[in-house]
């Protein structure tokens, strides 16, 4: 059988140099798009032979979003992964649901996303807008980020970090 080396199909050196920024966490941006590098001489973006990524804090935030929007069992190879906040959207917006969402986040999120330390969770129902405002206060020690406050909204369109 022929020997196939993945290194043979890597990006060229100029692209590689543009990508090397020393990030600690490097994830994929979805939907997949080509990455661009700003060329100072030509004063325009140059498309690189690589895809756009999410880095460091952006990657961590995306991971938290994925945790909230994934139902347990949905990710076939990690069936226990996910919190599934969406199921609460079909329940009445009241104090009980609010407490349930808060408890679930506190219980599960630190296990699902080991990079963060969850300091505080605040869930506030907004009955008029039919949504919950969720504020997470987190530390990301590996990135030397402490007391980061993530404001987010959970409504019928999904979960968004502002």
């Amino acid at each position: 059988m022929a020997l196939l080396k993945i290194s043979d199909i890597s990006v060229d050196k100029s692209s590689d140099a543009a990508l090397s920024k020393g990030y600690l966490y490097k994830d994929l941006l979805l939907p997949i798009r080509n990455r661009v590098s700003y060329n100072n001489q030509l004063k325009r973006n140059v498309e690189l032979r690589d895809i756009q990524g999410l880095f460091d804090l952006g990657a961590v935030k995306q991971s938290i979003v994925n945790c909230f929007l994934t139902s347990p069992g949905q990710k076939i190879l990690s069936p226990e992964f996910g919190i599934d906040l969406r199921r609460h959207l079909f329940e009445p917006i009241d104090v009980w649901t609010t407490m349930a969402i808060e408890d679930e986040i506190k219980d599960k999120l630190p296990g699902l996303e080991p990079r963060i330390q969850l300091q505080k969770v605040t869930v506030e129902p907004d009955i008029d807008q039919q949504e919950y405002n969720i504020t997470l206060q987190i530390n990301v020690p590996s990135l030397n980020v402490y007391g980061l406050s993530l404001k987010s909204v959970l409504n019928s369109n999904g979960y968004f970090i502002s």
Partner: protein
């Protein structure tokens, strides 16, 4: 097959032959993650919440599914792994194997001619039939016989040779040939079905006629095993049950068998079996009128193909009343089409025999495949084994074999003066014991002749096929201290099987007794036994001991006060119970001519007692 082996050949893409088996979703995911870890372009593959982890999951699972189907597909093209009928059928087509189809019920028939039927030669035409409440039994070949005396005469030719096939005679619509090489006509009628009520084309009943355009006459085409063995002008066809469960009728190419010419008309007739509804009991055909099949196409075929019809006296509606018919035995049961497993077992044997009957196994596999609706077990031996085994058996029990009914009947009917070239086929028919102490039946002469016909064109010219009857050995629960010379059948009345119920088990005693009873009957069912088989008392004992609530079993002769820890049988030949009788309580291999059965299946439960521990 997840694996933790991560060093390695997989990551270096230096893959071993069986690597595909290791590419399940979990291991694929771990390989991708490891590869990405080495590369350091990405890091978040290690966090389940990342987008990258989601993409990896999708890729790994997709490949897992694809490889599953690839693996399945790869397996299905292999003879030893195929599980679907369609695939197995296609695979064995490569070696020219023709899977057997479903077989209809057959019945032999006896005929007596009245004194009003004059001395002459008569012919019962093909497709003449009897009707019994919409159930039809047919002659599928012309049957000629002689009336040699003026008075009432039993027609031995019919008694020994005629076999009727159950079903209605059906004519497939005329097919106009295209004139292609190896032209194939599929006979599309549902015939592989499991329902009791659905009709199907009975295997081995297809007849093919061709009205050739050049001459405008019908011709009979004969079935051959392989067109490649036919000459260029032979009017032959090959029949095969295809992967869809339909019969394909294939004609020659002008080099191997006559090629159809464009415009030739092909007529195909077959028997459409009524399935289980068509099974009849002994003497059901008794005084029934013989009908003559009449259709315009069949009449045209008859006129064109029957050469000396002017000189032949046919049995017609008018003179058929001078013959009285009856069926001396029950009709045979149906046989299903060959299953995938049966094909897997039979195809290599068929291939190794190359359409020739040379070894004992060749004969046995041919009979088991083609006459499975008639035969429970068949064992083939040469003359030396016959003499040293079967005939010696009679001398051993002090019986003159030349005075034994079954030995003489078969010798006279089927063997000639020269015996060294005999192929002796011991055959146990399909049977069911109808009452206690009844003796199992032997295969009728008609069916024995069917075996001879079946082997006729495949056996060596110098060989003589002689069907033989087995020795049935009766088994009843019995234990005794007497020597064989003093043993008698009274042991059966004095012995019981005791089943000790576990103290902690509350299973109903009559339920337990019923289960032991069923286990015993199942063990001795004809379909579970073979000629010359090992009668495994150990297996039977284990089956009973594995029943829920059974602590132990023992057999006790109350008269002698003798007890045996386990199950013990009295085994004897019911025709010579004084000479061939013994106590059997361990595994025993029977000689090739002996077949076991349960002596009193309906009252065996009276010989079983359930006790508490």
């Amino acid at each position: 097959m997840p694996t933790n082996n991560t060093s390695n050949d997989f990551l270096d893409f230096n893959l071993p032959q069986n690597a595909y088996a290791a590419f399940d979703a979990v291991s694929l995911k771990s390989y991708i993650v490891e590869r990405l870890n080495e590369n350091e372009k990405f890091t978040d593959q290690n966090f389940d919440g990342s987008n990258l982890a989601a993409v990896i999951d999708i890729i790994a699972y997709s490949y897992h599914v694809l490889l599953f189907y690839l693996n399945n597909t790869a397996a299905e093209v292999n003879f030893d792994q195929a599980t679907l009928y369609e695939n197995m059928n296609r695979i064995v087509k490569l070696i020219g194997y023709k899977p057997a189809g479903k077989q209809t019920s057959l019945v032999p028939i006896n005929a007596v001619a009245s004194e009003n039927l004059g001395i002459s030669n008569y012919t019962i035409r093909k497709y003449s039939y009897f009707l019994l409440d919409d159930i039809q039994y047919n002659f599928i070949e012309d049957m000629s016989f002689d009336k040699t005396i003026a008075g009432i005469q039993s027609i031995e030719t019919i008694n020994d040779n005629a076999v009727l096939y159950q079903g209605s005679i059906s004519e497939y619509p005329d097919y106009i040939a295209q004139g292609e090489e190896f032209e194939v006509l599929p006979i599309v009628v549902e015939n592989i079905v499991d329902s009791d009520d659905t009709k199907f084309i009975a295997d081995n009943t297809i007849s093919v006629y061709v009205k050739e355009k050049n001459s405008g006459r019908w011709y009979i085409y004969d079935e051959v095993d392989s067109l490649y063995l036919a000459k260029s002008r032979d009017r032959v066809f090959e029949k095969r049950l295809n992967e869809s469960g339909n019969y394909d009728v294939k004609f020659g190419n002008g080099i191997f068998g006559r090629r159809l010419i464009e415009g030739d008309t092909v007529g195909v007739n077959y028997i459409l079996s009524d399935n289980n509804k068509g099974i009849i009991s002994k003497n059901a055909i008794n005084g029934n009128k013989l009908f003559i099949y009449n259709s315009s196409r069949q009449n045209a075929v008859f006129n064109d193909t029957y050469l000396n019809k002017e000189e032949t006296t046919f049995i017609t509606v008018t003179n058929s009343s001078e013959l009285s018919f009856n069926n001396p035995v029950n009709s045979s049961t149906l046989t299903d089409e060959e299953t995938v497993e049966q094909i897997r077992e039979n195809a290599p044997k068929s291939f190794s025999s190359q359409l020739r009957l040379v070894t004992e196994g060749d004969y046995e596999s041919l009979i088991n495949k083609n006459l499975s609706n008639l035969v429970t077990s068949a064992k083939v031996v040469n003359n030396t084994e016959y003499l040293n085994g079967y005939i010696q058996y009679f001398y051993d029990i002090c019986v003159d074999p030349n005075k034994v009914n079954r030995v003489i009947i078969n010798q006279v009917n089927f063997a000639d003066a020269c015996d060294f070239n005999n192929i002796n086929i011991f055959v146990v028919p399909k049977f069911v014991i109808g009452e206690d102490k009844s003796y199992p039946p032997f295969l009728s002469n008609s069916f024995k002749n069917l075996i001879i016909q079946l082997t006729g064109d495949k056996k060596m010219v110098s060989n003589e096929v002689v069907p033989r009857d087995p020795i049935y050995m009766a088994y009843g629960i019995g234990v005794s201290n007497f020597s064989e010379t003093n043993l008698s059948l009274s042991v059966l009345d004095d012995t019981k099987l005791y089943v000790v119920r576990e103290a902690t088990n509350k299973i109903n005693k009559s339920t337990l007794k019923g289960r032991v009873n069923s286990t015993l009957k199942e063990f001795f069912l004809p379909k579970n036994n073979q000629l010359g088989q090992n009668v495994s008392i150990t297996a039977l004992t284990n089956s009973i001991l594995s029943l829920e609530g059974v602590k132990r079993i023992y057999t006790k002769n109350t008269k002698e006060g003798l007890s045996f820890n386990g199950i013990s049988f009295l085994s004897f030949n019911p025709l010579y119970p004084e000479s061939d009788i013994e106590i059997i309580n361990q595994d025993t291999t029977l000689p090739f001519f002996k077949f076991p059965y349960l002596y009193s299946p309906f009252s065996i439960s009276n010989r079983i007692t359930v006790l508490d521990e």
